[in-house]
Subunit: 258 residues, 2 copies
């Protein structure tokens, strides 16, 4: 497909000026470019909704035309208060940036490191499932699924459950408030529910009350409840359900597309 | 295998105190716990070597006993100047932390975002290859390899080449000095060289002079040259060559082990 490699920032503007625009304390506005799916893009959207940001979804014109810095999505378009247009690519970078901006990184440097670690561990659980099962060869999906259920998932459940207990089983990974880590785990669970044999994954996680409580606490947030009642969010979930539960397997077929 | 879920920090120490210990400007000492391989662990080791840190490798007692916060490696053990023992897990977290500590994150907030984006894009290239080819089912490796060579790799080469040209084709992603992004790309290349059909990957990357120059610039660093002459580094490379080029395929066999 035709690829246009776009720039991250306006040409010829010194990075010191770009840094000044990026760290401008006045509110910026955002466009979040991703597929109409509730998977990889779901955490950045939750942060923007939670933060009460001025933001909108920007659909991808795929596969007709790919215009992005790395040829992949999501891409976060930022228009700073001073009018500078910046792009951030790569989920980790976007999620860390938004978490910092909207106060989801805890109260100090150590809490920030803890939150980043729990977030990364849950991102990789979803990535492992996507790479090994969801987008693997059709004739290997069942065996890969069994490996996931008997190896990666139990280790994730055991370790996360232990750390959540150490924090008082209060539905939060760090301290007593919502963070990027909580959002990631809750969104993992919502994504798993859309997947091939997702009910078995959900059943295993539900057996761990500490982890399930994280999802329940996230679900209580009034701004997230409002976003989840929106047409946009409902469209993402509906398309995810169709895509991952049915078409996903057919797409993967006997060849890998990713 | 028996798993002990370890804590990230001493029990009952408030996070504000842990944050103070972590951000202590006096030098800390480090133990880096990972397999004797030059793959996932290679970038943190390079940063510690480049930064002239007080550090050592800590081998993993695998599979006899797994003791780690998430049951996976690498884990970075930090003994702060004030004597507090902390652990960081997850590659992204360890690499960002060390890059910030040892001045490999550019000169300002925007350069830091750029470096994080290039780093993430190169991490994912290596991860994709690992998940889809190196550790996939043996009977799917060749087809997966072709998909990698015709899809993921050309997009990475085209986009990275464009951004490196925009920065003046000087062998650095950002500005005119070494960063975490440069280290990641150079280490990707060194890792690919150990892999099944790695010569074909190297050939494709060598055809792009902007990317190859990044590796050449990294290879010029005196402290990295010294580390790469050490017994420890040579052992990692030798074991990687055996493991990935021969045993790796046999290990994967007809079942997935990861």
């Amino acid at each position: 497909m035709p690829l246009t490699v776009t720039r991250f920032a306006p040409e010829n503007m010194p990075t010191a000026e770009l840094a000044k625009a990026l760290t401008d304390p006045r509110p910026a506005s955002y466009k979040f470019e991703y597929f109409d799916l509730s998977s990889v893009g779901s955490v950045p959207r939750d942060i923007l909704a939670l933060g009460g940001a001025d933001w909108e979804n920007l659909p991808i014109n795929w596969p007709a035309e790919i215009k992005a810095p790395f040829g992949v999505f999501p891409v976060l378009h930022i228009t700073t208060a001073s009018g500078v247009e910046l792009k951030l690519a790569e989920s980790f970078v976007i999620e860390h940036y938004l978490a910092k901006k909207f106060g989801l990184f805890g109260d100090n440097e150590w809490e920030e490191q803890l939150i980043k670690m729990f977030h990364s561990s849950s991102v990789y659980l979803r990535e492992r499932l996507a790479m090994r099962v969801t987008w693997n060869f059709k004739d290997k999906m069942d065996e890969s699924f069994e490996t996931f259920m008997t190896k990666a998932l139990p280790v994730w459940i055991e370790t996360h459950s232990k750390h959540l207990k150490d924090n008082g089983s209060n539905g939060h990974y760090v301290g007593d408030k919502l963070s990027l880590a909580d959002l990631q785990t809750a969104n993992d669970i919502d994504h798993f529910a859309c997947l091939y044999k997702g009910d078995k994954i959900i059943e295993a996680i539900k057996n761990c009350p500490e982890i399930w409580r994280v999802k329940e606490e996230v679900d209580k947030e009034p701004r997230l409840q409002a976003w989840r009642q929106s047409k946009g969010y409902k469209k993402h979930v509906a398309l995810s359900q169709t895509m991952y539960a049915n078409t996903g397997i057919k797409i993967a077929g006997s060849t890998q597309i990713l």
